[in-house]
Symmetry: C2
Subunit: 237 residues, 2 copies
């Protein structure tokens, strides 16, 4: 087969079998012991091979049960557009979604945040961490930094949190406009991966967006990490 790299041979073999249709969605792959025998090697190498399939999202391993071919992900399209909030975007598609406010604090801005929000140094901001779910499964983790002047006593409205933009609209009559988004692919940190219920080293889409008031004043920086098997970002021109 290829190069040397036994573990890659094994993962390519399994990948090939999956794509040929010899293993279908939900099927159990050969057990690690079986693969050890098939390739005349040991646990570690086989695990390294399966690890790669897990990282690529093709396989999920369940302790005590086995490793299984994942269903082809059917990520929900999320349209990046100027007037896009999370709930708004999904409501129109009839997707079962939910947001949970993990924590929040009021603090003074970092230099970088002050620059992006056009604030003076050490200006007061709200800092919210929000975990969003689709069909009850965690899909996206985001961190919003909001100019506190524009949403006075925001904290009063956080107790029964459902949607950030709903609060903006309802209590402050603010309809944020997305101005810019920057997109990268990253491996989430340890804590983030846990919250997103992702195995180690599975990548996510990282987006930093700047939203402004209708008038133009910078309102909010959002940094989100999103599972690519749950969301598909779409930009239309």
């Amino acid at each position: 087969m290829g190069d040397d790299q036994l573990h890659l041979d094994i993962s390519e073999y399994l990948l090939h079998e999956i794509e040929e249709g010899n293993y279908h969605t939900g099927d159990k792959l050969p057990s690690e012991n079986t693969l050890c025998q098939m390739f005349h090697t040991n646990h570690s190498v086989v695990r390294q091979a399966i690890k790669r399939l897990i990282d690529t999202g093709r396989v999920v391993s369940l302790q005590g049960k086995g490793s299984f071919v994942t269903s082809k992900p059917d990520p929900v399209p999320y349209v990046l557009s100027p007037d896009t909030g999370f709930s708004h975007n999904l409501k129109s598609q009839g997707v079962d979604h939910m947001s949970r406010l993990l924590k929040w604090k009021k603090r003074s801005s970092s230099p970088e945040e002050a620059l992006k929000l056009q604030l003076s140094q050490d200006h007061c901001v709200y800092d919210l961490c929000i975990l969003r779910f689709i069909d009850g499964r965690p899909a996206s983790l985001s961190n919003s930094i909001i100019n506190a002047d524009l949403v006075p006593r925001l904290s009063d409205y956080l107790s029964d949190f459902h949607s950030l933009y709903q609060i903006f609209n309802h209590y402050f009559h603010i309809y944020p406009v997305r101005r810019q988004s920057t997109i990268q692919a990253i491996i989430p940190g340890k804590e983030e991966a846990k919250l997103l219920q992702l195995p180690e080293n599975v990548p996510v889409v990282w987006i930093e967006s700047l939203a402004c008031q209708t008038g133009g004043a910078p309102l909010e920086i959002t940094r989100s990490q999103t599972r690519s098997d749950m969301y598909r970002y779409v930009v239309k021109f």
Copy 2:
């Protein structure tokens, strides 16, 4: 420290040291043997820890030399906009860029391609694989599927390839317009990783775009995989 998971403790320790500034860009991390002694463990566990730092792009390992803290990546912004070709986007920034045509063929379209390009089944398309460089380093790998009717005898112009859009403009007077892009984060395949000179399991941004003629006729599907440490996709509204 945390949870159990010794290898995560080690990678978090190193990450912490890097972020505290105890190791700067280009500094050599303790050798694997040293880390084994520091954490009273062995090669494999230490390697698993370092593997994670490599996947996150914070560290690069060089055989025979050591593992080193990478320079904070300063990815070139790439603006996703309707009138965006690769060269055009970078020329304006004075970035040293280059494209290499890896291979091409003329073939009949897949059902999915036919649908997206609004072609009849088994319509003829060009299929190009292009590797793009920034400062001489591979940054993005893309696969273009082009409606062959709109660029007759395209192959005549591929011998001295510099830029696809330059060929469109110069020989066909076509000025493609980007209509839609879909964005995900993936782990590249074995071959793709090699071409991008990425270690195993480092994620890339995957984008599928549809470009049309000025008139509106679908022209080209592009599927690209891009290193996040080289490019930063930006969408402006």
